[in-house]
Symmetry: C2
Subunit: 499 residues, 2 copies
């Protein structure tokens, strides 16, 4: 199987010393032929001049002349201190067909699904990191004490950055099991933890591991748009069920979708409306899952943050001991979005399936980050940070509400609860174009999300409103942003304001 | 939409001072009812004793007694310094149906595809980091000077770990475009670079962005098993085409699969056979792609490493100016597998599609790592490291071949070339069970891959052999490992040895 090659040349050459063609030209021609037939390939080192001259029993100047000719025509090139090599571009120029016109590539079809992905990029792209983005970083909120853990891990575990188990670092899986228990009422064994790179991968893995293309899946409406996109990519058949003050309207869901294969929820902090799923509904969901055989996927994205002295609402997973529930958690909100770490908690008999899925999608998570987070949790800093963050966000939650109430509070009302990283404001006048408001705010240097973007396309009753972040910005920044929104509303959307 | 709640209590309560039931019991019952109806929810802070007593105009001791009873029965619990809360476990115990039997979860169906994923985990799982693993880390080979870059990035860019563009950090995209040009003859603009978390994600993204389920795709046989798994996950219709001494047998491929939507190749170092695709075949592939409209996906996984003075073989992408070729690159082999960084180079008109795909799969890559690698490349350390690694691997390539030749060289022959991170040894006696050899070697503490595992299931002519790593181990380690393999062969597989 290895290329047959002369020990010195890589190709055969016989010189005809009686010929009219000079020896240097014969040598050059032999090299050209060798390149054309593939006996010599681009990047190959050609025999050094002295060696070839010795082998062919010719003067070095003869070989030198042959090589010089080939270098001049671009077939060979010289690298000082390394040798003479067969070039690639020359081969392409002289031996291949004309370079295919770039235009032809445009006509090549790609996957159908990408058309929707591209068009949706507009409202799926990450927010700019300015007020009032929902998730960001800031010097006073973000865990700067994590830096030392990261740096220590980079030193201590540099050579531990190997191909590892797709479920993640054992120390991290243990740490996650512990905080899930302490903070979220999720009792599980470390073996049930599957490390991910965040909620999005967790949701995508749930879609791909639990569901077949064509499966009917019940999804809240409104919901996080990237969840719908994940479902679309998997090719599931989505049924969008309404949400009311108690969370998913289960009766409506059952009517629309009697036998879902899965139900995707955000029970602790409905995204984006901010309602908490009542205990009654939680029991009803679990009963429905039990009876219908549906999986429940619980996206618990920012539930450590609950204010006014209340403890975080316990996870749905904990009410069910994980029999029917897949739990999706993340460190993006509490640590850093760009850290790319999260986790799934799954029934033990499904761990292998999720492991195999992770391996095939992208193998595993980043080693150093896993070590750093595991130790950060083990040393108690994670929980201390959560407490600190909760305090700051509690203050800022009340501040943003106060600032909005004072400025344009009469334009609508807040419908979300005292928790999480966003507040949701519903406009009284539902004829307003909240997307236009969002765009006008962006022009004024204020980042928001518009509520109707969270509804599935074609929804008949998409609520109009704004979803605002607050936690990563101080009062002054929030005041400025809220003022600019007020300015936009009064100057561009006056007809939708209070009479 | 917010829960209707009494400003102090969260629920309604009317005391009947004429009743036989004592006031403390009435209070306790009211709290129980509030929990059952959901007016009070798990985690909620209940009104502090003093406040409730004042509100109800009762003695503090009365309220205290009510709470004590509820704490004793587990409905409430107290956290020193924080207050009294509604517990979750009690609610579950008393109000929900009996916990669903864990067994029922076992019967719930999951995606069909996972069955294959799980069964394949055996030969897809990462190797142990012992000789002769193909990709690993070691103090003398791995870039320990990268540590400083990582630590610096962790400090300088801690707060830059935000949600960012799915295509990756601009500085990294530029750095990649530069080294791709210098090292791989891949000319592209930074805008064509899509940062990934490694080859696997790159291949998966190619599958999902270029192809629809059911599309016919031509894949080399043998090939990297995780590539087949990615195709399976996407639901493509694979056609496995044979590989010979010049690479993919294009004539055979055309017969098996006249109009593929895509062709997946490893032209610079066929995985696992180690042959280099000849120039003739390269032109033929590009012509075929041009005529059939097929995409060519080039997995260029370890091509910086070519020995015996030869320069790395230029990429197929470069011959075509990217009109028909998607280039898949990775830093896993040259830096660290656990770093999780790689890249795709795609035609400009497809960047948005790949960006949208990345966003939906898992959003983006790890920020700190991107900063670190960008600077490492910019400062010239990456190329210096590649040169150093090439030198070490060159030496060890010759060592492993020499050691094997001396010990059990007469059992077969090497079919791979002087490049890359693995050598491929084909047994003369093709009746040998190479999987059994692999397992016996593992028992002896030696990691290998068995060649037949690289063939698609059901292949009629799967070659038997061993695929061995060498670069991360010194001569002593390799000698020990090679000896143990020899021991295994002679003692357990003697009948398959040389006569």
């Amino acid at each position: 199987m290895p290329r047959t090659s002369h020990p010195i040349l890589g190709f055969e050459i016989t010189l005809d010393r009686t010929s009219n063609i000079t020896l240097d030209k014969q040598i050059a021609e032999a090299v050209r032929r060798a390149v054309q037939t593939g006996a010599l390939m681009p990047g190959d080192l050609v025999t050094p001049i002295r060696q070839l001259a010795q082998y062919l029993n010719v003067a070095r100047a003869t070989v030198d002349a042959a090589y010089a000719e080939l270098i001049a025509e671009g077939l060979l090139f010289s690298v000082r201190g390394r040798g003479t090599f067969v070039s690639s571009s020359h081969v392409c120029r002289k031996t291949s067909a004309a370079a295919p016109p770039a235009a032809s590539a445009v006509q090549k079809p790609i996957a159908d699904s990408t058309a929707v992905c591209v068009s949706a990029l507009g409202y799926l792209m990450p927010q700019k990191n300015i007020p009032l983005a929902i998730v960001s970083t800031s010097a006073d909120v973000s865990p700067r004490d994590f830096q030392a853990y990261f740096q220590r891990a980079a030193k201590k575990h540099l050579l531990d950055q190997v191909y590892d188990h797709p479920c993640g670092l054992p120390a991290l899986r243990e740490a996650i099991a512990r905080i899930a228990s302490r903070l979220r009422n999720v009792q599980c064994r470390p073996e049930q933890v599957v490390v991910t790179s965040g909620s999005q991968l967790g949701l995508m893995m749930a879609m791909m591991t639990l569901l077949n293309p064509g499966d009917r899946v019940c999804i809240e409406n409104p919901a996080y748009p990237l969840l719908r996109a994940a479902g679309f990519l998997r090719g599931i058949d989505p049924v969008y069920a309404p949400v009311d003050a108690e969370g998913l309207d289960i009766e409506a869901a059952k009517e629309l979708c009697p036998n879902p294969r899965a139900i995707f929820l955000t029970p602790s902090n409905q995204c984006p409306l901010g309602v908490v799923m009542s205990m009654k509904r939680r029991r009803a969901i679990l009963d429905w899952a039990q009876v219908s055989g549906a999986w429940v996927v619980e996206d618990d994205y920012d539930s450590e943050l609950r204010y006014e002295g209340n403890l975080p609402f316990p996870a749905l997973y904990g009410m069910d001991h994980g029999a029917n529930v897949i739990y999706v958690g993340t460190f993006s909100k509490m640590l850093f979005p760009g850290l790319r770490l999260g986790y799934l908690i799954v029934p033990e008999h499904l761990v292998e399936s999720f492991a195999g899925m992770r391996l095939i999608l992208d193998r595993q998570s980043h080693s150093i980050a896993q070590h750093a987070v595991a130790e950060y949790i083990q040393d108690g800093f994670y929980e201390a940070h959560v407490r600190k963050m909760r305090q700051i966000f509690d203050t800022r939650y009340h501040e943003i509400r106060e600032l909005v109430e004072r400025d344009w509070g009469d334009w609508g009302c807040f419908i979300s609860g005292a928790q999480g990283m966003h507040v949701t404001f519903r406009f009284h006048n539902q004829a307003i174009d909240d997307k236009a408001v969002f765009e006008a705010c962006l022009e004024q240097g204020v980042e928001t999300r518009y509520l109707s973007s969270f509804y599935a396309p074609g929804s008949s009753q998409a609520m109009r409103g704004l979803v605002l972040g607050f936690g990563f910005f101080n009062r002054e920044q929030m005041l400025s942003a809220v003022s600019r929104i007020g300015f936009v509303l009064r100057h561009r959307f006056a007809e939708f304001g209070p009479a």
